[in-house]
Amino acid sequence: MTTPTHTAELGSQRAAGWIDPRGQRFAAGITTVVLAVALVLQNPWVLLFQALVFAVSVAAGPANGPYGLVFRTLIRPRLSPPLDLEDPRPPRFAQLVGLIFSVAGVIGFAGGIWLLGLIATGCAVVAALLNALIGYCLGCEAYLLGRRLLSSRR
């Protein structure tokens, strides 16, 4: 895997601000646990905490979000260098989708609309768990579907 062309490619990816995909998987794992706790306790405060984490990750970029920082300072120094880097735009967009769902969940649990809270948080758990387990990005897929919906209304 570490051919000269590959090394050069990694260098240019790093220069373009690409990030370690393992950081995303790690962040998705923590996100899943936090969302699961919020869902089981139906607790708006736990969910609000996760919503804030999503918001910071969207604003600062996924590698600089709270969980991304934990990965970089505590985990990554113990790992071998990444074989591949990843464009940060898809996970960033997914964090935005996560933010929308968790805010909906907060409104649901805090406002007594339990069904909204359960469904919104449940969807967020599915997306985070899929990301943590097999690296799928459901939020990214929502992008194309959203574009299709928007353009069909015109």
């Binding site: 995909p21 699961a36 869902l39 089981v40 306790l41 139906q42 990843e86 464009d87 735009r89 898809p90 996970p91 967009f93 997914a94 339990w114 359960l118 948080t121 449940g122 969807c123 758990v125 599915v126 768990l129 899929l130 387990l133 097999i134 799928y136 990005c137 939020g139 990214c140 897929e141 992008y143 194309l144 579907l145 574009r147 299709r148 353009s151 069909s152």
Partner: protein, 150 residues
């Protein structure tokens, strides 16, 4: 609290089902019926003007990508490798957001979706997700022979 536990359990079951289904089907090409359900076979034929560049002489591999799509790059790498040996096979990578007409015509729901056409532009096989090397190879061969038999 039990309501929350049931909700969490449902979410986990849904996740495992989705992950299992996709693991089995993603990246494996399936034949496309010669006519669409409405009987409009012309909908499943891609032309030079659809693609914005000429079709491959023998077959064309068309990938639908999008801006927020990490696996699209992996797909690009695999397809570029696979078509390198065939000069009659052209690879076209389209940004779905700019080609919503084609996205709707071919009913594309997620990226990457990869379709392979024969030399006339008729869509022969398609898949979603990153193509497996073996399935891609077989499908290119199938598209080549589909073009010959017409």
């Amino acid at each position: 609290m039990w309501v929350g536990l049931v909700a969490l359990l449902s979410a986990v079951v849904v996740t495992v089902a989705v992950a299992g289904y996709r693991r089995r089907t993603d990246g494996r090409f399936r034949r496309v019926a010669p006519t669409s359900p409405a009987g409009r076979s012309d909908l499943l034929r891609l032309s030079e003007s659809d693609l914005g560049r000429p079709l491959g002489r023998d077959a064309t591999v068309v990938q639908f990508s999008s801006e927020f799509c990490a696996p699209c790059r992996a797909a690009e790498r695999i397809i570029t490798d696979a078509v390198a040996g065939h000069d009659g096979v052209r690879y076209v990578d389209l940004d779905s957001a700019h080609r919503m007409d084609l996205v709707r015509r071919l009913n594309i729901l997620r990226t990457p979706t990869v379709v392979i056409t024969d030399r006339t532009g008729r869509v022969v096989t398609r898949t979603v997700g990153v193509p497996t090397k073996q399935s891609l190879h077989q499908s290119v061969q199938a598209a080549l022979s589909a073009g010959v038999s017409r």
